[in-house]
């Protein structure tokens, strides 16, 4: 069935499509039901059709994009830019607003530059982590990529969405240095020192004369990022993979208080991950093999399963990057800190040195392995997660954890909760909801749980790092301070840069959060 952009007649949309075809070539304008279906979110927490697109366009470069913007502005056609379209759990390639036209940037897939001396690169949106890793290997680069849990996504897309990895460069948005951005009116801007003709420092320093603007083009709908500079890590002399089992639920406060100073002083020099008990019992099986009763898997059953696997209530995993001798010093500090504050913890360590074959614990291989858990709860499986940003203080982390665990149990969902120690001063919680996509009651319950948690977190001043399309307005509305002063400012910037509202309407709730779903 035809899907149209809101406010457009079939005739007006047909005219716009004809102009898009003339502008970028007929074969790169996709309008069939089958093609449009390939942009749906397969893991949506509800009816995929709520986020159906009207068509898709695949430009070959900036000039094609400019032509598309001109036509879209004239016909008021909303565009939803995607890069690899693998924003899995958060909407995949689907638009927030039904009837948007996908602007599929996959064909813009060049690794434009890799600078071995400065440890920098410039990439286009269609470069996946698979592509980037292969290109670094082809060049014999001495630089390492920081990849996320699954490698299918775009290097640019992941950084713009504030994605995370597992190296010292794992806070990917912090590795961005300089962008080329196409604004809704077709003007092309280079941020930072890229504004200087003949610059050699575009990727060397983020802060130009005047405001730094890179951040405003992340998680936003203010422009189309057509190129992005990023920093890359030189291959380390060695690595240590650390795995810590912490025995009891009650150890959580002490665990957070033990990890924070180690991260703050850079002894732990990459993001750590924490997994609770429910998160550790899934591997290699499906839920129905371990639980056949209504509601969430009980804490007692979960603890039985943990015991069978010899796992602790909490698992902490991180890698250290340094020379072998320096790794010894780091590990000694970590062992002493845990011996003092959490003597019941068990610490296992693996080591690697330059020249040795890489191993899976190093997380340097591209992979799609995390997708394997999607049908844990039922087939066809879907998933999304609730991701508050929390200070790594024992009391604060305990407060947030307790609320989330309690709400999951109350709503009959397994509290599958983890945390990224993304920086010295912030934890990102990842509380996953798995559901059977065809189960309307379960998906509706998950949506209610998500919105309940939004209310709970807003009440204690905690916001989210990222959400699925369905909850972007909810997450934006949580920013209540000053009568929603920040969301209102975002609306004003949006209105100034994109008066026709054609770029990614609904993205991050900008321009739409007051209306809600």
């Amino acid at each position: 069935m035809a899907v149209l952009p809101p406010g457009l007649t079939q005739q007006a949309f047909d005219q716009a499509i004809a102009e898009f075809r003339a502008a970028i070539g007929e074969e790169w304008v996709f309008t069939s039901d089958a093609d449009r279906a390939s942009y749906l979110d397969p893991f949506d927490m509800g009816d995929q059709d709520d986020h159906a697109s009207a068509a898709a366009l695949a430009p070959s470069g900036v000039e094609d994009c400019r032509k598309i913007l001109e036509i879209a502005n004239r016909h008021k056609v909303p565009l939803w830019p995607i890069s690899m379209g693998k924003n899995l759990a958060y909407g995949t390639a689907a638009p927030e607003m039904r009837g948007s036209v996908i602007l599929d940037l996959k064909r813009m897939n060049r690794v434009i530059e890799v600078n071995e001396e400065l440890g920098t690169a410039i990439v286009e949106p269609g470069v996946s982590f698979f592509d980037f890793k292969a290109e670094l290997e082809r060049r014999g680069s001495g630089l390492w990529m920081s990849g996320p849990a699954h490698s299918w996504g775009s290097v640019i897309g992941n950084a713009l969405e504030h994605g995370v990895g597992y190296t010292p460069y794992g806070q990917h948005v912090e590795t961005i240095c300089g962008m080329e951005v196409l604004l809704a009116d077709g003007s092309l801007v280079r941020t930072g020192l890229g504004a200087l003709e003949g610059t050699k420092e575009w990727q060397a320093f983020r802060w130009p004369f005047g405001p730094g603007l890179d951040g405003m083009f992340t998680q936003s709908n203010f422009g189309i990022v057509t190129k992005m500079g990023l920093w890359l890590m030189p291959e380390p002399e060695g690595m240590a993979g650390v795995s810590i089992r912490v025995p009891a639920r009650e150890d959580f406060h002490a665990l957070i208080e033990t990890l924070r100073p180690l991260r703050m002083t850079d002894v732990i020099n990459a993001p750590y991950t924490i997994a609770n008990g429910w998160r550790q019992i899934t591997g290699g099986r499906v839920r129905s093999e371990v639980w056949d009763q209504p509601g969430a898997i009980s804490r007692e059953r979960m603890e039985e399963l943990l015991a069978e696997r010899g796992q602790g209530w909490w698992s902490v995993i991180f890698n250290l990057f340094d020379s072998p001798a320096a790794l010894d010093l780091r590990l000694d500090k970590i062992r002493r800190a845990f011996a003092e504050k959490l003597p019941g913890a068990t610490i296992d360590v693996q080591r690697w040195e330059q020249g040795q074959p890489q191993e899976s614990w190093m997380r340097q291989e591209v992979s799609l392995a995390p997708l394997g858990v999607v049908d844990w709860g039922g087939n066809p499986g879907g998933h999304s997660d609730f991701g508050p940003i929390v200070a790594p203080l024992g009391d604060r982390a305990e407060e947030v954890y307790s609320i989330i665990e309690q709400r999951f149990l109350e709503y009959g969902k397994d509290p599958w909760i983890g945390m990224f120690g993304i920086s010295s001063r912030a934890l990102i919680f990842v509380a996953d909801m798995f559901f059977t996509r065809t189960d309307a009651e379960e998906t509706e319950r998950c949506r209610r749980l998500f919105r309940q948690l939004c209310d709970d977190m807003a009440d204690i001043g905690v916001g989210l790092y990222r959400t699925h399309l369905r909850f972007m307005d909810d997450a934006a509305a949580m920013h209540r301070w000053g009568d929603h002063a920040l969301p209102r400012l975002n609306n004003r910037i949006k209105a100034a840069l994109d008066p026709n509202g054609i770029l990614a309407p609904g993205k991050q709730g900008i321009g739409s959060w007051e209306d809600g779903e």
Partner: protein
């Protein structure tokens, strides 16, 4: 085979509706086998996560796609374009119809 057969019915119906335009040629000089190795093998060889997930759903020995007794090209095309289970769909802008057809033909006829 039960779970897979149930899942296969709607996607086969979907496959019939796919407008597989033959306007593009497969990547120059690459066979279906080579394209499979390039685009699918990260998950769908022995030990890959796709193979591990499928091993819970299909009869013994059928989880590895290159070793499956029967794998109609239309089913491969439908699953790739629509996604199934844990596997998200792959759209034409990232895998052309011609390349997908070559991969599907390889998996159908290799035995």
């Amino acid at each position: 085979m039960r779970a897979f057969a149930i899942a296969a019915l709607p996607v086969l119906a979907f496959a019939a509706a796919l407008p597989l335009a033959q306007r593009a040629q497969a990547q120059a000089g690459k066979s279906g086998q080579e394209l499979f190795a390039e685009r699918c093998a990260a998950c769908h060889v022995e030990g890959g996560f796709g193979t591990r997930v499928l091993s819970r759903r299909v009869p013994e020995g059928q989880a590895e796609l290159e070793k499956r007794e029967t794998l109609p090209a239309a089913l491969t095309i439908a699953v790739v374009r629509r996604g199934i289970g844990s596997m998200p769909q792959i759209r034409e802008a990232e895998l052309s119809d011609a390349d997908l057809q070559a991969i599907a033909n390889y998996l159908e006829k290799r035995l």
